[in-house]
Symmetry: C3
Subunit: 342 residues, 3 copies
Amino acid sequence: MEFTAQQIAELLGGTLDGDPSVKVNSLAKIEEGQPGSLTFLANPKYEEFVYSTSSSIVIINEAFVPEKEITATVIRVKDAYKSFAILLDTYNKISSNKTGLEHPHFIVDSAKIGVNPYIGAFVHVGENSEIGANVKLYPGVYVGDNVTIGDGTILFPGVKVYSETIIGKSCRIHAGVVIGGDGFGFAPQDDSNYLKVAQIGNVIIEDHVEIGSNTTIDRATLGSTIIRKGVKLDNLIQIAHNVEIGEHTVIAAQTGIAGSTKIGRFCMIGGQVGIVGHLVIADKVKIAAQSGIGTSILRDGEIVQGSPAFSIAEYKKSYVGFRKLPEVLTKLEELEKLLKEI
Amino acid sequence: MEFTAQQIAELLGGTLDGDPSVKVNSLAKIEEGQPGSLTFLANPKYEEFVYSTSSSIVIINEAFVPEKEITATVIRVKDAYKSFAILLDTYNKISSNKTGLEHPHFIVDSAKIGVNPYIGAFVHVGENSEIGANVKLYPGVYVGDNVTIGDGTILFPGVKVYSETIIGKSCRIHAGVVIGGDGFGFAPQDDSNYLKVAQIGNVIIEDHVEIGSNTTIDRATLGSTIIRKGVKLDNLIQIAHNVEIGEHTVIAAQTGIAGSTKIGRFCMIGGQVGIVGHLVIADKVKIAAQSGIGTSILRDGEIVQGSPAFSIAEYKKSYVGFRKLPEVLTKLEELEKLLKEI
Amino acid sequence: MEFTAQQIAELLGGTLDGDPSVKVNSLAKIEEGQPGSLTFLANPKYEEFVYSTSSSIVIINEAFVPEKEITATVIRVKDAYKSFAILLDTYNKISSNKTGLEHPHFIVDSAKIGVNPYIGAFVHVGENSEIGANVKLYPGVYVGDNVTIGDGTILFPGVKVYSETIIGKSCRIHAGVVIGGDGFGFAPQDDSNYLKVAQIGNVIIEDHVEIGSNTTIDRATLGSTIIRKGVKLDNLIQIAHNVEIGEHTVIAAQTGIAGSTKIGRFCMIGGQVGIVGHLVIADKVKIAAQSGIGTSILRDGEIVQGSPAFSIAEYKKSYVGFRKLPEVLTKLEELEKLLKEI
């Protein structure tokens, strides 16, 4: 695929400075650009490269004032980073336009498949499941019985969706994700054995959700585990039964959320965080990586760290104290001695 | 499926108070019940809902004395929570009764399949493997060579079982679980390279074990990695080579246990715990979430927290001190000043 | 398979003491050896067993001087542990010599498969992908478009390799691993929504890399996520977009490395470690399990612990202080009282 500077400027609604007919066929980082590639300058730290880059086209912010001559063709836009993201997305859509049916696959008669699907080889779709329009099920995807998948959603290779799950529109669910496995519930019995609590709820995933590779989302015991619209989950995350995650909340890799906890909207949760069950986390809360959350966070916008976590500013002070502890112990001994002498 | 109050009271051995012919077709939480649903009251916190619920049937403890009238039909049992678990389980068994063979699958001639199986599409069973009676292998399950799987065990979609693995009866192994991958063993060589230590042991999983989605259990270098009967493992857990986990121990999500560690019986291990290799953990030990275990725990019933972990009571006191550290530093400075003045 | 002591001594270049015609058909731990098995003594802790073992052959270090008679046939080598590793490896190679094609599989016409392959059932290979000689693709492996896989590499069941990935020679990639899923990149927008940053880079894995079950390695936003030769990754590890891991670095299970961080050569990283994005870690650095790395480590060979981590020696001292904190608080109060009295 090749595009001219003119085409790209039009796509982005930007203004062009330089040769409008110059062509590019790849995207590059500004410090690695080659002739024929397009790059961008968003972070001022990289300004020096804008003058020396070998890229043929560079996208910059309208507000940016160059200190020297830029040899590449320049496209000025309001937000260079966002424009580049749009270009990447366009490029991606053009290059991953799989459609059609590969064989063998296993789709039962009672299942409904929408228009213009991609059904990879070795895909399984169970009884009464309804797959929307323009859905892509990559090879080896498993869809159980009574599942609904909305228009434009992509399930990458080997995603497993248990029965009764509802998935919205325009979701991207990466390879190896498991949705709807049993919640972890066992009732202790008199003889110290455990009786399994059957898990008959389901999982609901709303529109525009992205889920990273090998993440697991358990079905509810009763009712639904719910991932609200726009939520972004990274890889290897654990979402337990009956959890609810509010709209547009973003969670980094390897975090785990225990049963029945309800997370607010627009939260940002770092990697390897653990949140215990039956809590409520307010909106716009930020949780530092590796934190452990043992009590509800009821104030919007709070920022916490530690295990157990508390206010990040206080945590940082306590941690300074932790590093000084050997010194503290020495001083304390000295003071004791001094006092005894007195 | 529809059941009368009479049928349910008989199944549970409970006593009935109200209309025995009322019918239900779903299970619900007490605060969300609709007509036609069955619910239960176990936690006294929810007592208010027992009077206002729209559910048609409610299960309560024999010992519970209502303060007002309950409009729903009531079934009294010894333990309402356990009875509800039994109902859920019955419901589950009836609704997930898959049997028969889907095509294509790949089962070699030397493999033996027991009576009444469910073999999903794209299942692979290797040389000399023996699958018991009433086993369900969901679509995309891989079973290697010389594997044994006991009666009534269920492998959900995409479970991968390497060669030589032995799995007991009535186990439930969720989607994406990997059993029998190589242990992580490398012998450092003079030139700082690593020589792989071949892993020729296997994995043994006893009866009534449940394993959550995408958990991994490595084969032993020599001998066996062993999961004893009744063990319950949550999602995304890592069990390294030659580990042994004692009967009826329960482990929450994302915990990792390093090579050759031996865990006792009836332990309860929280989420995101790390346990280093070559340790012994006694019976009935409890380990708080996110703890790190660096030394053996030899006393039965010990409860620990922290990384590295120690007695939970002491840990909580130390953590109080951690939060007060900024204050401690200030006081120490003041005392120093005062003493100098003296 | 059966081998004589003579054959084994020749394979290892060792000297033989005892019956050269004794035969073995299995490998065993020294404390568990049975007649017909071969074992070894490397760790002096196990010396007692060398005199009592029922194994038919035992491999020992040249330097080892027995205190009593050893009844088994003895093979003396320079390094018993390494020799045993070689034997295990030889045994493994002989016993896992799968070749040929199982059906059905799905390989497009434009894909190239090298000589002597093993292609399991339900394998998918996409457009223009090139698979080297002696490669094994176990059942259910997915290989996307434009992928290259080097000679002798093994992909165990259900490995998913997204398009554009490059994998070197003699790699072992365990079941459920996902390579090349989207990096986790979203540009915040004015309305607090997120715009997905398309991820058009790829993943490069060099020769002799081993990757444990269900580990995930994301593709780069631009450029490549790179795993250098000889790297060993355990299970359930998260490698984010644009990360680079230096030659022969070893990482234990459940560790996560955030975007664009560059790890040096010959590092040893414990389990459940978290490393934030955009850092540089020098060569031969060691990081204790469960540590959190928030800043670059620029000195080769540094050893760190804690979250956030610092020098392991200082960390251990601070942790001693942490355990004494309740005592510190008490003493501080006493001193205050005393001073007030004065």
